[in-house]
Amino acid sequence: MSEKAFLHLKDIVKKFGNFTALDGVDLGIHKGEFFTIVGPSGSGKSTLIRLLVGMDDVTTGEIHLNGKRIDQTPANLRPTCMVFQSLALFPHMSVGQNIEFPLKLRKESPAARRTRALELLDLLRLPQEYYDKRISQCSGGEKQRVALARALAFNPEILFFDEPLSALDYRLRKTLEKELKDLHARTGKTFVYITHSLEEAMVMSDRIAIMKDGCIEQVAVADEIYGKPVSRFVAEFMGEVNLFPISADAKGTLLSDFLLVKNCLEVNVVPPNAQGLLMVRPEYVRFVNDGESYDFNLSGQIHGEYALGSRIQYEIETTAGIITVEKLREDRLNASNGDAVTVGFNSNCTHFICDAI
């Protein structure tokens, strides 16, 4: 953990009575980064962000921002700001008044406030006429932008996002994800985003932290989290995955109950004397035609075929359970349920998760 991190969390513990919501969280977030915390509901990510913003107090642990300790500072004095899941726009104020609210609190002149608010409307691609609109007259996406503008008006050192896109429909969410990423690039601010959606995290983030049961499981860039998860939980949380129990003896010879390994001696994905899970994502699994061979092979029957838009997913019933295979639509297999097939994949597409079960 780098001591130079812009936002630095040291061993954060949060307890509600007997329930431990956060169990020793350490995290360093760099300046200007788009950092996403992902986890299923109940993993503690919402609690964590509430602590960071100052809406709850830490039980033990420290939060440092830019070298200064802030965990005892009340929320209104922290240079951080959050975009709420509900957006929390003030229904009794106009769009302009909402955006100007933090400026008004700082006693800026009405003219300066108005100028800044109009700039922010521009930045978020909202027409200037929206200044006088009522919040109830705005659509979901527009409200989203107003909430962002209000947070940016505060000019925080870090902007927190508590799943602000979760209530929107799919298409609008996709648009706003890209806009948010674009806004991040243009403003150069540090964004910390929490979500339960892996897709959102992958599209927008520089780095991702995965949370489970109040602990951070893994922190890495998106590709690494996807391709090299540290645990079964991360692997499965980050999308469809095939996992096979595997081990190696003292000489590094692979031992597997289910996989047919082509050349046990040449494939060294598992260190000697280690055991764990071998992971392969469905898009790397191939159907084996006559005459082809892969490092790992497995035979079974087609159990189901599902169209996923641009891709086709197959479920193959094997001795190791159901294996998922994905192909591009153009590579669709000419087969039907119950047909016997052999599938295979190469070792360079796999990732070994040590000690996982």
Partner: protein, 274 residues
Amino acid sequence: MPTSLSTRVVLYFYGVVIIFLLYLPLVSVGFASISKARYLSFPIKRYSTKWYGEAVQSSTVSELLTTSLWVAILVTIVSIVIGFFGALAFARYQWRYRTLFQKLILLPIFFPQTVLGLALLMWFNSVGVIPSWKTAVVAHLVWIAPIATLIVSIRAYSFDPALEEAARDMGAGTWTILREVTLPLLMPGLISAGLFAFLLSWGNFPLSLFTTGADSTLPEWLYAKMVSGYSPLVPTLGVMSVVGSFLLILLALTFSWLIRVNRESRTTQKQKIL
């Protein structure tokens, strides 16, 4: 913005103080009712329950209680019926004059009761009705039936109209729906409306004052004695009236609790069988 522990403690304490002050006068009345002396003065030197004995034997008291009870019972029954239909019109059905209706029924609640009582007195006089405890029932209803309607409405608001639509879809007629779906669902609201109606009628004074004619209810009698000078029977009857009310509330709370326990035990039994 977490509420700090000290704020919470202060707020709790404040709540307890308010409740204490709310009931402090009743404590005084309670002590006064068991003071032996004819002229009350604190601290009380000798206690006795003789005033209760006198109250129980007095024929005036039993007359007062009978009148109050009859008025309250009639008001309760009529309020429940009116409140049931009124709440449906207030909260459930979307009809043309709904907002007007909502405002109309708020007016009597806002209205100064003394003036309402006097107005009713003139009205009864103009149409040639001689005031008695029966006219007091009407007077009470003007104020209590709208309150009962509001109480049932709170329940009616949380009621999903789809339930009625589903029943209609399965072929039930309007009356069947009212009886089989609406009535059972609104029942908790009707019970609390009935309780409110009874207790508000039981304790009401300003409406009774001008509309009971030659009859008299308990609060009227108490008021007459209060302004004309101290009588040891005033605190005694006051306590009896309050204790009566609270016993009724206790009864109602126990009853609703029993129903809930009964229902829960039945569902757990079913789960066991399944």
